[in-house]
Symmetry: C2
C-alpha cells in the first residue's frame, strides 16, 4: 500500500466555530494527513514551516473564501514562509514535483461564480494567484476542490463530500477509475483488518467481491477497447 | 476646476524603506489626495475606515506584488473593513459609482507576466479578486496602473511615471485626450498662480499658448471628423 504524505495548510480565523472546517477535520484525521492550522501558530517559525513543506508529497491550502481569496492569516503565512529561494531562487526548487491542491469553501452556490452571474468571476480565476506560486515552484497542480454551502447539504451529500474530500487528500492523481479503485480497495482492506475476529469472515467476503468486481470491470473495459479499436480500422 | 476626492489605501510592511512608495507618496501629495497607509494604523476602526471610503470619489489600492497579491496587511484590512452590508448587502451599495483603481509595483518586468513566460499569469489576472469586490459593490473599474522595476528607471522615466501617477489619482477618466488636456490646463493654471509677480507675465504667456494649442488641436480634430464623415457617405 502506497501512502501519500499530505500536508493541509488550513486558514480560518474562527475555526472552532466553523461547522464546515470541523467536519472536514474529521475526514482529514481518517485520511491520516497532517492538519496544520495557521491561525493557531503562536508565531511563524519559517524554518519549521519550510521543513513541513519539504516533507510533504502533497500540499493543500484549505480556507473559506473571503473577498475572493483566503483569510489574511494564510497570506501572512505565505508572505513570511515562502521566501524567494524556497520557491524558485538559485535555480533550486525545493517544492518541485510535489502536488498542490486547494480546498475552498464558499457561502454562495457555484452557479454564482461565473462571468455575468452575481460574483462575475469563476473560483478558478479567483484562485489563480495561489496556482501561480505553485507554477513558479514547479509543482504539479491539482484541480480545485470546492465546498459550496456546506450547511445546506443533506446527510447523504455530506457523506459523499467526506469521501470525495478524503480522496482529494490521499488518493493518487489524476482522478482516474483505476486510481479510485485502488484507493477504495486499500480503504476496504484497512477496514476489514480492523474488524473483530467474528466479523473477519464477512469482511473478507466483501473485499473478495470488490476485487472480483474490479477485475470483471477491467475485463469489460479491455473488451470495449478491443471493439473500439476494431471500429477504428 | 473640478476636484476628485481620491483615497489611496496603501499597503507595505516596510514603507519607510521602500524607495518606490516614498517616490509615489510625494506625487500623491502634489495631487492632494488622502494617503492612507494600513500598516500604520494602530488598530482598524471599521466605522472610521468605512467613513473614509464613503467620502471618496475614487478609491485606489496601492501595494507591491507579494505572491501575486497585496501584502497580508491589505487583506487584513479588507477582511475587517469590508463587511458584507458595506459592499452589497440589504440592496444598498455604499460604494456604488465610485471609481476603483489599483497601483501595483513589481520586481519583475511586465513581459514576465504572461502565459508561457516566467510568471505564467498576467497582472490583470492576479488582480481579479480585487476587481471582483469592486464589481460586487457596483463600482466603476479603472484600468490597472503598474510600476514595474522602479529602481531601473532613468530620471526621465521617473518623471514620466510621476505625471502618469498623478493623472491616475486626480484626472477624470476615461483617459481621453480631452480629459488629459483639461487636467494639464488645471495644473498649469495652478502653477502660474503660484508664481512670483515678476514671473506671472511669462507664466500667463505659456498658459495662453497651451490653451491656444488646445483649441487649434480641437479644430484639427473637428476637421478630421468632417473629412471622415464625408468618406463614410
Amino acid at each position: 500500500m502506497w501512502i501519500i504524505k499530505t500536508l493541509v495548510i488550513v486558514s480560518h480565523p474562527e475555526i472552532d466555530n466553523s461547522q464546515t472546517q470541523q467536519f472536514l477535520k474529521k475526514g482529514a484525521e481518517d485520511a491520516q494527513v497532517i492538519w496544520h492550522h495557521v491561525e493557531s501558530l503562536d508565531e511563524i517559525d519559517v524554518g519549521k514551516e519550510q521543513k513541513l513543506l519539504r516533507q510533504a508529497d502533497r500540499i493543500v491550502f484549505q480556507f473559506p473564501l473571503y473577498w475572493y481569496a483566503a483569510p489574511y492569516g494564510l497570506k501572512k503565512w505565505e508572505d513570511e514562509v515562502l521566501t524567494r529561494n524556497f520557491i524558485y531562487g538559485d535555480k533550486t526548487y525545493p517544492l518541485e514535483d510535489k502536488e498542490f491542491g486547494i480546498v475552498v469553501t464558499t457561502g454562495m452556490p457555484l452557479k454564482d461564480f461565473q462571468k455575468g452571474a452575481t460574483e462575475n468571476i469563476t473560483l478558478d480565476e479567483a484562485m489563480a494567484p495561489y496556482r501561480a506560486i505553485a507554477n513558479l515552484g514547479k509543482m504539479k497542480i491539482m484541480p480545485l476542490f470546492s465546498v459550496p454551502q456546506f450547511w445546506y447539504m443533506s446527510e447523504d451529500e455530506q457523506m459523499q463530500l467526506l469521501i470525495d474530500y478524503q480522496r482529494y487528500l490521499s488518493q493518487k492523481f489524476p482522478d482516474s477509475l483505476a486510481n479510485r479503485e485502488e484507493w477504495f480497495e486499500d480503504r476496504l482492506q484497512q477496514f476489514v483488518k480492523e474488524l473483530s475476529d467474528e466479523d473477519q469472515f464477512s469482511g473478507n467476503l466483501i473485499l473478495d467481491t470488490f476485487i472480483q468486481n474490479k477485475e470483471n470491470l477491467e475485463q469489460v473495459n479491455d473488451t470495449l477497447k478491443m471493439i473500439k479499436e476494431g471500429e477504428d480500422e
